[in-house]
């Protein structure tokens, strides 16, 4: 079957059958991740408004901070796209440069998120204070943990790219990391809308 054959043209990451399978497997994994986040979003929706004695989200959420975080993460998705574009052009240097910019933006996002959590804790909204805040911290925290993991993963990949250059295997790994990074961005769009925007209005 032609699906099994090794190709000599086309994007590096799709040339071997094994790599094509890995990319499909990763898409399915992202499907499972969607189920995971959907469950967390549903939990958040059910527990919305159950703040008990803790402050309400209207009192704590601040638009400038949420917007800054959104800006940082969405931009990082764009730079990640450029990185993959550079990879397709065969430019290792371009790939590494844009990958590092992506990471810097991701780290910036993470810094704001940590600051945000600490700030809320000072205002009396912690994981323990009510059902609403439990679901808030676990939902956004799970996303934040994914970003952290993505950053560590990218660092490992940068080392491998430096050591081995661009080949089928490193190209596939980088491509999959790109998929993961864009996915986190999509999740954030939903987080921004259903947690921050709605939380500030309702």
């Amino acid at each position: 079957m032609s699906g099994h054959s090794e190709l000599t043209t086309g994007p590096l990451e799709y040339r071997s059958h094994e790599d094509r399978m890995t990319v499909l497997g990763f898409w399915l994994f992202l499907g499972a991740e969607i189920a995971l986040f959907a469950t967390l979003f549903a939990t958040y929706a059910v527990l919305f408004g159950r703040t008990a004695d803790a402050p309400t989200p209207q009192e704590l959420f601040e638009m400038p901070m949420a917007l800054t975080m959104t800006f940082l993460l969405l931009t990082s998705s764009f730079t990640c796209g450029i990185a993959i574009h550079e990879m397709r052009r065969g430019s290792l240097k371009g790939l590494l440069t844009w990958l590092i910019i992506t990471l810097a933006l991701g780290l910036g996002f993470l810094g704001f998120e940590i600051y945000e959590f600490v700030h809320y804790a000072h205002e009396g909204a912690t994981l323990q204070s009510s059902a609403y805040w439990s679901s808030f911290f676990v939902l956004t925290g799970t996303h934040g943990a994914h970003v952290t993991l993505g950053i560590c993963w990218a660092v490992l990949l940068i080392i491998q790219l430096k050591k081995r250059g661009l080949n089928q295997m490193t190209a596939r790994k980088t491509f999959v990391l790109g998929l993961y990074w864009h996915f986190l961005d999509v999740i954030w769009i939903f987080l921004f809308t259903s947690v921050y925007l709605i939380g500030m209005v309702v």
Binding site: A32, S134, Q160
Partner: protein, 649 residues
């Protein structure tokens, strides 16, 4: 320190548990002694602990599942012993709670699923003409995380105490206030660790089946068991993340003090029931669909006819898979969600019986005018049909929300789900194991012993569970540890049935030993005059499965090959075969998961973090590993095949 050990760490004060501790220590010493004496440590590590071969992983799954079936079965016997007569003081209520909890959890999570996943592992790549699964390394991670998760769960028995909130682990009963201590943590972490492996299996098998089929094998030419595995993998991939979240939320509730399912802080205990069954109902189909696939293969083979209504079989499984996500509320109609909600879920539940009924008639249609052979795998399949139909019909009775208020939490329900899970899943596992046993081990299971075990088990099964419907009508509640005098006669009958089932199980296990000693060795690869591609290989199957992969031109690939000629050893077209390298990382990584889990169970954060660092370190090692596997030379293939095919000439 001593005080902590005796009062909290080790479970003390119960002779049954002292006995278990002694036997665990003795068995462990015996294993270490045997391995050392026969110098098998290296063999164990090289051939099994580090293997990525889907066939060996499948066999390990099945061995572990049979061990767990024994453990869960002992729990069942203890329960029956307690419930036979009124005023029995064999088990106290706490101990009884622990036993029904571990019985349910072990049977579903650590017996039914691994048994079927083991069969899937062994059979699916062979059925589609593949040389391994898509991600062999990940497959080993799946197995070892299941094995260490199961070990962690079972450890609760002697260290810290077993969970006691039922296999459904409802909040707030399972929450930190009403149930402090490590017991429930064992449940949460044991399931979490093994759940990671199950999710990986789901993804792995979807890719394997979608991407690694032999040339010419279109989706609608796939053997039906492969179809059932594909659909099961789909359900796993989308249902298990829900369990992951539910378990994580309750773990965070218990260890870090959040308020998801608590009674304080405006938490919602019923959220747990919803999340649990959002996973739990698809889970039921995860353990039944592969069994359906097995019955389809067996019935078609032993009726010596092509499967009747193949397309209807596929579509009905797809429908069942879709509907399985839309019925979860029927597990708690009495929650009080209102007439509208209950009606909706009542209807979706009844809808499932339609595709299931289609399948029943297709099996009957397959047998119609077939020349049926009554070998043991076929007996299990024939026993399945009527027994499962009883379970299905009582399921529709339970689906009627208004009537369910009467049945809810009575023995009627207990009888119902055992009727579907034992007649469906357990019979399916036994049918599948006896059917594929020759392919796995090179000899059949003894037919006579197989039939004895079948009759004991099936008669015992009906004697055990049919009375429970009537006990349910009489008002006997589920999970009670003491019975009223008027429930005694039927309970005595039920216990007799349980004993018969236990005898059936013992004969089944003895049969494994007996057949290993005395069964005639297989000379060809085609034991039962089979129809799908797994029978086209030699027995035992070479590690690379297929020397050459045949071109598939229609359904029932091997049946066609037998008529038109065709082989999996095309001498003139041999090419070197690429195979993945073994790795010890999956085993070590899962061992670290165990360490991290154990640390969280006891809320020893240092241990938990150490385990977590170990897991991450293993991931880093894997990331830097550019081992592309190795090639099997044409000469080696020739040598292996000539030797394996000597018996055929």
């Amino acid at each position: 320190m001593m005080d902590f050990l005796l009062n909290e760490f080790l479970v003390t004060g119960d002779p049954l548990i002292y006995g278990a501790m002694v036997s665990i220590v003795l068995v462990s010493i015996a294993i270490v002694f045997v391995l050392t004496y026969f110098r098998k440590w290296g063999y164990l590590w090289r051939e099994w602990l580090t293997t990525v071969d889907h066939k060996k992983i499948g066999i390990m799954y099945i061995i572990a599942a049979i061990a767990m079936l024994f453990r869960g079965g002992v729990d069942a016997m203890l329960m029956r012993a307690q419930l036979t007569l009124p005023n029995t003081e064999f088990l106290n209520s706490q101990h009884y709670n622990e036993i029904f909890t571990t019985h349910g959890t072990i049977m579903i999570i650590f017996m039914a699923m691994p048994f079927l996943i083991g069969l899937m592992n062994f059979v699916v790549p062979l059925q589609i003409g593949a040389r391994d699964v898509a991600f062999p390394f990940l497959n080993a991670v799946s197995f070892w995380s299941f094995a260490f998760g199961a070990m962690l769960f079972n450890l609760s028995f002697v260290i810290g105490g077993s969970p006691d909130a039922g296999w459904t682990n409802y909040a707030p009963l399972a929450g930190p206030n009403l149930n402090p201590g490590p017991a429930i943590n064992y449940y949460l972490l044991g399931l979490q660790i093994s759940g990671i492996g199950t999710l990986a299996t789901g993804i792995n098998f979807m890719v394997t089946i979608l991407k690694m089929r032999a040339p010419g094998m279109t989706l609608m030419r796939m053997p039906i068991f492969t179809w059932s595995s594909l659909i099961t993998s789909f359900i796993i991939t989308f249902a298990f993340p829900i369990l992951t979240v539910a378990l994580a939320l309750m773990t965070i509730d218990r260890i870090f003090g959040s308020q998801f399912f608590t009674l304080t802080g405006e938490g919602m205990p019923m959220m747990w029931a919803n999340l649990f069954w959002l996973w739990g109902h698809p889970e039921v189909y995860i353990v039944i669909l592969p069994a359906f696939g097995i019955f389809s293969e067996v019935i078609s083979t032993f009726a010596r006819k092509q499967l009747f209504g193949y397309k209807a079989m596929v579509w009905s499984m797809l429908l069942i898979a879709g509907l399985s996500f839309l019925v979860w509320v029927h597990h708690f109609f009495t929650m009080g969600a209102g007439a509208g909600v209950n009606s909706l879920f009542s209807v979706t539940t009844m809808l499932i019986s339609v595709p299931t009924g289609v399948k029943i008639f297709n099996w009957l249609g397959t047998m119609y005018k077939g020349k049926i052979r009554f070998d043991t795998p076929m007996l299990w399949s024939l026993g399945f049909i009527p027994c499962f139909v009883i379970g299905g019909v009582t399921g529709v009775m339970l689906a009627m929300a208004a009537a369910d208020y009467q049945y809810h939490n009575t023995y009627f329900l207990v009888a119902h789900f055992h009727n579907v899970l034992i007649a469906g899943t357990v019979f399916g596992c036994f049918a599948g194991l006896t059917f594929w046993y020759p392919k796995m081990f090179g000899h059949k299971m003894n037919e006579k012993l197989g039939k004895i075990s079948f009759w004991f088990f099936v008669i015992g099964f009906n004697v055990c569970f049919l009375p429970m419907y009537f006990l349910g009508f009489m008002g006997m509640p589920r999970r009670t540890y003491a019975i009223e005098p008027e429930w005694m006669p039927l309970n005595v009958v039920s216990t007799v049935g349980a004993v018969l089932m236990a005898i059936g199980f013992i004969v089944f296990v003895y049969n494994i030993y007996y057949s290993f000693r005395y069964s005639e060795r297989e000379k060809t690869g085609d034991t039962w005059d089979g129809r799908a591609l797994e029978w086209a290989t030699t027995t035992p199957v070479p590690f690379y499965n297929f020397a050459t992969v045949p071109e598939i031109t229609g359904p029932e690939a091997f049946w066609k090959m037998k008529q038109e000629g065709g082989t999996t050893y095309d001498k003139d077209n041999l090419e070197p075969i690429h195979m993945p390298s073994d790795s010890g990382v999956p085993f070590i990584m899962s061992a670290f998961m165990f360490v991290a889990g154990f640390g969280l169970v006891w809320e020893w954060m240092v241990v938990a973090i150490a385990g977590l660092i170990g897991i991450l370190a293993c991931m880093v090692v894997r990331s830097f590993d550019y081992d592309h596997g190795f090639h099997v030379s044409v000469e080696e293939i020739k040598e292996t095949e000539e030797k394996a095919r000597e018996g055929e000439k």
